[in-house]
């Protein structure tokens, strides 16, 4: 069965881990800290032509909120969701929500968590969720929890979410044990509770009672995805993550989802988070921008981290997005062409941006792994932080939401919500 081992811990922060013995992919080893490609919208052929080595260490994340409708065909096919997605050699992760799409607070009931598909509300229970995991057959997945909380969330909301999530966790453990398919699966316990250490501790204690029931931890409920993660208050984030991790068994996998900026991601990695998803790639792409921040500590030039390719100043700029980048978009296309594609709303525009941004962010993660292995995470963090400090308040991320605009109320704090 799938195993996670910590290979080395750097005294300068961060750790290298290995995911191996994956039942579907017995010959492969995946190194952490790792980036999961979230909800792939580049086809297999496009990924291959773009130079992503699918056979090597590709990993994907498929949120239930995007793939719930696949349960029926997959039940019939009997094959897992990565096969359906034509990415069967990729390590496959499932969780409830898409970290790149803002999920406004919704009214909650006791026994389920809502997701939205085409603005239709679907209430997901632990039973339904685990049934989907049986059918989707991901290599690892998080347990269902109520993560609908954020920085200044009312206490009562957090308490309710935490109580519900504890129940869901217990149910998930039972459902896993009684399922022939999931018995040996890699299940990641979801820890919620907003920024309230007390509520988080309650779930952690529940999990620690029988720590062999769970193979890793998903630290959730800190933001409602989308722009909220990119704009999160870093100091309080660091505090709450650090106090949560302190209570968890060190040797197990730690996962976080959402569009944390690269400097924040590095802080989280320094604390021991092993797995992230590519939410930020989606946010940057949706803003028509290309990531160009420099992560080469041997040539520590400081760049403004993102360039806005919709800006007309690029309309006759025939340079690649980033000089020296080896992605297909930079090798074969120009800023000017992409500016034209974005101006004319051509689908190829976001495709080229995704190719570059995903490539850039995966390279960033490869650099992080090298930096940890060579005790240079501090230098890398400094280089990245300086570039993002420069950009503070200048990078705006679109509010892309997962239900109908009409129903959308930011910071909805109504009775039904609590």
């Amino acid at each position: 069965m799938t195993k996670f081992v910590v290979e080395s811990v750097s005294k300068y922060g961060g750790r290298i881990g290995l995911i191996k013995n994956v039942e579907r992919l017995p010959d492969k080893t995946f190194k952490t800290p790792m980036l999961l490609y979230l909800h792939p919208q580049l086809s297999r052929e496009v990924l291959e032509l773009s130079g992503f080595e699918l056979s090597k260490d590709f990993a994907i994340s498929l949120p239930v909120s995007n793939v719930e409708q696949m349960e029926k065909p997959l039940e019939i096919s009997g094959k897992g969701i990565s096969d359906f997605w034509a990415l069967k050699e990729s390590l496959t992760f499932c969780s409830l929500k898409n970290g790149s799409i803002f999920s406004p607070s919704a009214s909650q009931d006791k026994d389920s968590v809502p997701i939205y598909r085409k603005s239709e509300r679907l209430n997901i229970t632990p039973q339904r969720y685990m049934k989907m995991m049986e059918v989707f057959k991901p290599d690892f997945y998080t347990t269902l929890a109520d993560g609908d909380s954020f920085k200044d969330c009312p206490k009562r909301r957090v308490a309710k979410a935490s109580e519900k999530s504890r129940r869901f966790y217990e149910e998930s453990v039972q459902l896993k044990k009684s399922s022939a398919v999931l018995k040996n699966s890699f299940m990641i316990g979801t820890i919620v509770g907003g920024f309230n250490e007390f509520e988080r501790r309650k779930i952690v204690e529940e999990m620690n009672k029988k720590s062999e029931d769970v193979d890793g931890y998903f630290i959730d409920g800190l933001h409602r995805n989308g722009h909220e993660a990119a704009e999160i208050d870093v100091t309080s984030l660091k505090e709450i993550v650090s106090s949560t991790i302190a209570q968890l068994p060190q040797e197990k996998l730690k996962v976080m989802s959402g569009a944390y900026l690269p400097n924040v991601t590095l802080e989280l990695i320094a604390q021991g988070i092993d797995l992230f998803d590519s939410s930020l790639v989606n946010l940057v792409t949706n803003a028509n921008r290309a990531m160009v921040f420099n992560f080469n500590i041997n040539k520590p030039a400081k760049l403004f981290p993102e360039i806005d390719l919709l800006d007309s100043k690029y309309k006759d700029d025939f340079k690649p997005f980033l000089e020296g980048c080896s992605c297909l978009a930079c090798r074969k296309h120009t800023r000017a062409y992409t500016n034209h594609l974005l101006t004319t709303h051509e689908l190829l525009g976001p495709m080229l941006l995704t190719i570059h941004n995903l490539h850039h962010y995966r390279e960033f993660f490869a650099t992080i792994r090298n930096a940890i292995a060579s005790d240079k995470l501090k230098e890398l963090t400094e280089l990245i932080s300086e570039q993002y400090q420069e950009a503070e308040g200048k990078l705006y991320y679109e509010r892309k939401i997962d239900n109908k605009p009409g129903k959308y109320k930011e910071n909805l704090i109504a009775k039904d919500f609590i």
Binding site: P40, R44, L49, L328, L347, L348
Partner: protein
């Protein structure tokens, strides 16, 4: 043959050679050699990349062996507005701008103007129109159209023609036809890149056989490297349509390529190849993909429809495209709200068109085209075959009943 064609190609930017002829119909297989780009085998379907891209498709995807798209079409009207000639000039033409090193064809921009802009008006000087952006009045003259197309730099460029609605009758049809002949001379005169860009004149004349004949004859006297048949596929009856196509190919020189503009439904392609057409273009295969429609030999599938929810077969199990190799109908149905759907179906639909043309060429080469046509229409119309198709094919000695 290759050596000989290469030699020819060095002299002219476009040389065409008929390689095989169907022994019954007017169908022919040929090859067009264009300067600096790879050869284009005909009969060919040209996918339309209006604004310098096919929707959601990388140019590299069009070049993979199983796709092997050899020529693509761009729209002068759209490209002239955005990115505009200034940027295309700086980029060194559309090939460079979009990263496509194979053949390109551009239209004149006139048709789009007349059909997209309400207030376009045709005078002897050119097409008068109001800018869609600032409302200012401008004029697209034959010279200006060629100027823009010279900047875009496509291998084949089209003359500006006087387009009238297909169903128009009376003196306006003749006027448009005669003006089109006058304009080809202005276009040829204006072409600054005759050494690497070939202008195709356009046969007009509505549904009037006499006018079409007169136009084709007049254009044949010009020194050009290929011809187009225009003004069809605009709501005329199919019966009129095929007769005009057939009459036009009869009148046009046999040693030059013939391009039927705006036609691309599978049945029309097969019939018009039999009538002697070599080149086609149509937005339909790419446009319909956006709405979830996939093309198959028996018609089309709307993959958004509930019936495909659990259909675990590919769109077409004989299709070699990357979509059919990797994905099922059920998968595409399940992602029909996602961006990837459009890309996946576009790839299949373009591949479908190109595969059909490959099959047609192969059949002509083996002199089995009439058999191919019969099988094709038996699959498409197992019961009754449309009368116009039966008649059109009968006129070139192919019986499908």
């Amino acid at each position: 043959m290759n050596k000989k064609i290469k030699l020819l190609a060095e002299k002219s930017p476009l040389t065409y050679k008929v390689l095989n002829k169907c022994s019954k119909s007017k169908a022919r297989k040929g090859v067009m050699m264009l300067r600096e780009t790879k050869p284009v085998e005909t009969p060919v379907f040209m996918p339309v990349g209006t604004q310098g891209t096919l929707k959601g498709v990388l140019v590299d995807q069009l070049k993979v062996d199983d796709m092997n798209c050899q020529i693509m079409l761009g729209n002068t009207y759209h490209l002239g507005l955005r990115p505009g000639t200034e940027i295309l000039q700086k980029a060194g033409g559309l090939h460079n701008f979009m990263g496509w090193d194979r053949a390109l064809l551009t239209d004149s921009g006139g048709f789009q103007m007349v059909s997209l802009l309400e207030l376009a008006e045709i005078t002897e000087e050119g097409v008068k129109f109001k800018s869609p952006f600032d409302g200012s009045e401008s004029m697209l003259t034959p010279e200006e159209s060629i100027n823009i197309q010279n900047t875009i730099g496509a291998d084949i460029i089209m003359q500006l023609d006087d387009v009238v609605k297909t169903t128009t009758t009376g003196p306006r049809v003749e006027e448009a036809m005669l003006r089109t002949i006058r304009w080809i001379d202005r276009c040829l005169e204006a072409n600054n890149r005759n050494d690497d860009q070939s202008i195709f004149p356009i046969v007009q004349g509505g549904l009037n056989p006499e006018l079409r004949k007169q136009c084709a004859e007049a254009l044949t006297e010009r020194n050009v490297r290929g011809y187009a048949v225009g003004g069809l596929s605009g709501g005329e009856s199919k019966n009129d349509f095929w007769k005009i196509v057939s009459l036009s190919t009869d009148k046009l020189p046999a040693d030059k390529p013939r391009y039927l503009m705006g036609v691309g439904f599978a049945a029309d392609l097969v019939v018009c190849v039999a009538l002697g057409i070599d080149m086609f273009d149509c937005v339909f295969p790419t446009r319909t993909a956006r709405f979830g429609c996939a093309l198959v030999r028996t018609g089309q599938l709307n993959l958004k429809h509930k019936t495909f929810e659990v259909d675990l077969s590919p769109i077409d199990d004989k299709c070699k495209c990357s979509t059919c190799k990797s994905y099922t109908r059920a998968f595409i149905h399940a992602i029909s709200n996602d961006l990837m759907m459009c890309s996946l179906i576009t790839i299949h639909n373009v591949s479908f068109q190109l595969q059909l043309m490959r099959d047609i060429r192969e059949a002509i080469e083996k002199d089995e085209f009439p058999e191919f046509v019969k099988t094709f229409f038996d699959d498409l119309y197992p019961d009754t075959k449309p009368e116009w198709i039966v008649d059109a094919l009968k006129s070139v000695n192919i019986e499908i009943q």
